[in-house]
């Protein structure tokens, strides 16, 4: 039994290392040649693994690129401060922190420069959906608490904070905390008040 456990642990360790090397090689190739130019052969050569090792785990190029981009993101926080404004503020701060790295911004731009490619657009939408999940959860909790009317579309409330914030971060503009606080105040007041109109 003991040797089996050790063997598994070793296999796990090696497998995790291979995954990390392949994903990191994918990001490097993506930065070098973009999505359309990316070839699995080049990723394999850079990672020092066989092509079949890559295909076994990620059968298609979009699956590999999506996994690589996902691996480059820090886990998103899931704040639960008790108020919608508090949660949105914490999520916005984490997004600002994440996008302030030039490396992250440049990866985002590689992808955004090829959005006319349907596979790239699908990857971008999938990753955005994942990144917005804790935002949606925060808005839904606010509705469940009665902080928002149930008639308000939670996805729209997310768009209203995420959109202006990402538009600024994309141009590498400073996020003024006063601007962000005023933005959130208007969105929360609007989402509360709109049911009465």
């Amino acid at each position: 039994m003991m040797s089996v456990v050790v063997k598994w642990a070793r296999v796990g360790g090696r497998s995790e290392r291979v995954v990390a090397e392949v994903l990191s090689a994918t990001l490097a190739e993506l930065g070098r040649v973009g999505y359309a130019g990316l070839r699995i052969e080049e990723v394999a050569a850079r990672a020092g693994v066989a092509k079949t090792t890559i295909y076994r785990r990620w059968p298609t190029k979009p699956a590999l690129v999506e996994a690589a981009l996902r691996s480059s993101r820090p886990p998103s926080p899931e704040p639960d401060t008790g108020s919608l404004a508090g949660d949105l503020g914490a999520l916005a701060a984490a997004m600002t922190e994440r996008m302030s790295s030039p490396e992250k911004r440049s990866l985002a731009r590689v992808i955004h420069s090829e959005l006319d490619h349907p596979e790239v657009a699908a990857i971008a939408r999938a990753l955005r959906r994942e990144a917005q999940a804790p935002w949606l959860a925060a808005v839904r909790r606010a509705a469940a608490r009665g902080e928002l009317p149930v008639s308000v579309d939670p996805a729209l409330v997310v768009d209203l904070v995420w959109g202006p914030l990402s538009a600024r971060l994309r141009l590498a503009e400073e996020i003024d905390p006063g601007w962000l606080a005023a933005l959130i105040r208007i969105v929360v007041a609007g989402a509360r008040g709109v049911a009465a109109l």
Copy 2:
């Protein structure tokens, strides 16, 4: 006198043609090699003019690229419907129409993929400022009419509609008229109600 007028008219005609050819060659080169790779020599060769002809009018590469990108935009409408929601809706519709051309989107992406270049970021900010001018004017008119409290920052109201809309257009997503109308309702209600908080 007559011959002078005719001569001027001829010079003007030729000059306008040269401007159009140089700007169109600049856009083509931008699409081919991007901003960092763009060389005035190549633009001159493509437009069939001397380099000095270009430098006389646009002394720097950023000045030339900014002019070329500006020339590729249709003039922005300046709606004055009498209500903030009406004006924002008309401006958003025009922006959606403009960005629904794959050609325009791809130019926007060329620029956005090189935003880490300080000259590119400066051009993007200048063009966005210009594009947002009629939006700002609409919000200021609403404040002047008493439709919004004067304490609300007009630029923030613009961000709140422009941001979510451009985030969707960037991913080439359909703009649902119901989504847009609900977005504008929340922003207007929030901007009106926030002063009371």
